[in-house]
């Protein structure tokens, strides 16, 4: 009797978790439905289904350009945030130095900051500097938020890293570069990999920062919003769904690669 109780409560936890997870994806599914509706306005059950909006979305030059911009921003953000985040994480978790505690906390502040306000603040700053907002400035804005996230993600890996291994490598005659390449990086690789995924996907999905700082350039979320506010067509949910599918594919591919590498290493 006593043993059945944990089992029952575990079952309740499973049910609750699945319920919440379904709720999380419910609106995503509704959006996908709306993108397949022939009519501009959504009525359920859908009166007529059509791939017309998907086709239009795929055909649009403008959307091609926006997708390119989004990818470009996300790629650059990924690379820069990995470089900054890698060293930032070493400073966060690997080295003991005066000011580390303060550094750890200051670094987290941008994460603990409402993004619309951060976006506006950056806009004001760029304006004060006389820099015109464009996708370049959007990169800077994304970085302000994403670098701390990536740093944290990598730092968690760094915590599990025994510095004695670096010392051992140095003792065995390895140079600084060789230690980095053959010891430190391979061990931190899972953290770097998930940091890269986070960086790319968070940039890909970010709206509030892009809204204020991308100027005349548009990213997918920004385009979706501006069309939602004025000029709504089912291209909005269609592109939203495509973007979601793209992110999911990337995440799955990322997971698969990580799994593959892990499996190969285990052998």
């Amino acid at each position: 009797m006593d043993r059945s109780r944990p089992r029952r409560s575990h079952l309740m936890i499973w049910i609750w978790t699945i319920f919440v997870a379904v709720a999380i994806y419910l609106p995503v599914a509704c959006g996908a439905l709306a993108g397949l509706s022939k009519g501009r306005y959504f009525l359920f059950p859908i009166r007529a289904y059509s791939f017309e909006w998907w086709q239009k979305t795929l055909d649009s030059l403008e959307i091609q350009r926006i997708v390119q911009t989004s990818i470009l921003i996300a790629l650059i953000v990924t690379v820069v945030s990995l470089v900054l985040g890698f060293f930032g994480a070493l400073a966060f978790a690997r080295f003991d130095w005066r000011g580390r505690r303060l550094y750890q906390k200051l670094l987290l502040l941008p994460i603990f900051f409402p993004q619309p306000v951060l976006g506006l603040a950056l806009l004001l700053w760029f304006n004060t500097l006389g820099i015109q907002p464009s996708w370049h400035t959007a990169i800077v804005a994304h970085l302000v938020w994403i670098v701390p996230v990536v740093t944290l993600v990598i730092a968690i890996q760094v915590y599990g890293f025994d510095p004695a291994m670096e010392e051992a490598a140095a003792d065995l005659g390895a140079g600084r570069w060789m230690i980095l390449r053959d010891v430190t990086l391979p061990i931190l690789w899972p953290g770097i990999w998930s940091g890269a995924l986070f960086a790319f996907l968070l940039s890909w999905g970010n709206f509030p920062l892009s809204l204020y700082t991308a100027g005349a350039d548009s990213t997918i979320p920004k385009w979706l919003y501006s069309k939602m506010v004025a000029g709504y067509t089912p291209m909005v949910p269609a592109l939203g769904t495509m973007s979601t599918l793209a992110a999911a594919t990337l995440l799955l591919a990322g997971g698969a690669i990580a799994g593959f590498v892990k499996a190969r290493r285990a052998r």
Binding site: G130, M228, V229
Partner: protein
């Protein structure tokens, strides 16, 4: 803060360091490429793929368009220093003539090239057309295209067109409709309409008593609104039956719903009102070239491009909102409109509705009214 009060010092400091942080070319480096680049700040429609894609292909140019849904924001963007970014700005009637030109945010167009286009427009736009010209009438400030009346939109299955037209703005004073109407969010246009609901002419100076009446009306109107939202939300809510009518809509906002098979949704212009007897307001967009030191040579080309009958028709039926265009005065353009399209833009009653409307103008005490309205909006919960 005293150390920081020199903007230039900051600029150098910041630009240098940002360049270090994000080693990317900044727009300054891209000056040479402006021949193939055009940036448009506009109302929704001009930023659609149907309008821009052919131009992109034709010119091989990078065209970026950002749409905003209100005039003050766009103009403020220029003021804040973005006049170096944009080439064209598309705002409503009074702004070019009364604000942007005096503030040197836009520059005039060559008259000899652009005046002839006005001849082919609908009669009311024949030259010299007031809102396209500078105050002294000497300069051509922009090109007109889309226009339309806007007051409110009703679901005529719920409230007949006749009732709606005859009742006028008092619809929003009717307590039995509280909770059944929405407000299309557009702060400046909301201000006009609340003046009208209060029985006041928005486009003049107001006495303290009148402002009090405005405030009371604002409180009541916002409290009674079921929702405040954008065009898509309003149409979706009308079609879903969440609301029966909404304030601050017109042909421009309801036409996509009409085109989508909901002809019972209709923009209404009241028969009478407090503006010398008129109750409706109309808008006419004027597109001007920004006073950009590096103005793209494509800016005038684009203005000409949209005058083309085919393109004008596309502009009228760009995604988002469907509108009558001034170029319908040209038969070549008018003939492109199908019956369904004319129905969507309520062509049947367009002329009389325009006749019942005043062209909107600057509200002299806009800022005060806006503050009052925002206060009222917050108290709606």
């Amino acid at each position: 803060m005293t150390n920081f009060n020199r903007r230039d010092t900051l600029k150098i400091l910041g630009a240098g360091a940002l360049a270090a942080g994000a080693p990317l070319g900044f727009p300054g480096a891209a000056l040479a490429a402006r021949e193939k680049e055009l940036n448009i700040l506009c109302w929704e429609g001009y930023n659609s793929a149907q309008v821009l894609d052919p131009f992109r292909e034709k010119e091989g140019a990078t065209v970026k368009a950002e749409s905003l849904t209100n005039d003050p924001t766009m103009i403020n963007r220029l003021r804040s220093g973005e006049s170096k970014v944009w080439d064209l700005i598309n705002v409503n009637n009074p702004w070019a003539r009364k604000i942007m030109y005096p503030e040197k945010l836009i520059k005039p167009l060559p008259k000899d090239e652009f005046m002839p286009y006005f001849d082919k427009m609908l009669e009311q736009f024949h030259p010299p057309y007031k809102w396209a010209m500078s105050d002294d009438g000497s300069e051509l400030l922009g090109m007109t295209q889309r226009f339309g009346p806007y007051s409110y939109v009703v679901n005529t299955d719920k409230i007949s067109r006749k009732t709606a037209e005859e009742t006028g703005w008092d619809l929003f004073n009717d307590e039995s409709l509280a909770g059944k109407y929405g407000i299309l969010e557009s702060d400046d246009w909301n201000v006009f309409n609340i003046f009208l609901v209060a029985g006041l002419d928005p486009f003049k100076e107001h006495s303290p008593e009148e402002m009090k009446a405005f405030e009371d009306t604002a409180l009541k109107v916002f409290k009674g609104a079921k929702l405040i939202g954008d065009i898509a939300t309003m149409n979706q809510a009308l079609i879903s039956g969440e609301i029966d009518l909404h304030m601050t809509g017109g042909t421009y906002s309801v036409s996509p719903a009409r085109a989508d098979g909901f002809p019972e949704m209709r923009a209404i212009t009241p028969l009478k009102g407090p503006m010398n007897g008129k109750g409706g307001v109309s808008w006419i967009e004027v597109t001007s070239t920004v006073n950009n030191p590096e103005l793209s040579p494509l800016a005038p080309e684009f203005l000409k491009y949209v005058q083309d009958p085919e393109v004008a028709h596309t502009v009228a039926f760009a995604e988002g909102t469907f509108n009558p265009v001034a170029q319908m005065g040209n038969k070549a353009c008018f003939d492109l409109f199908t019956k369904d399209e004319l129905d969507a833009i309520q062509w049947d009653s367009l002329e009389e509705e325009m006749a019942r409307s005043v062209e909107y103008d600057i509200v002299p005490d806009y800022e005060k009214a806006l503050d009052l309205m925002n206060n009222a909006k917050r108290q709606r919960s």
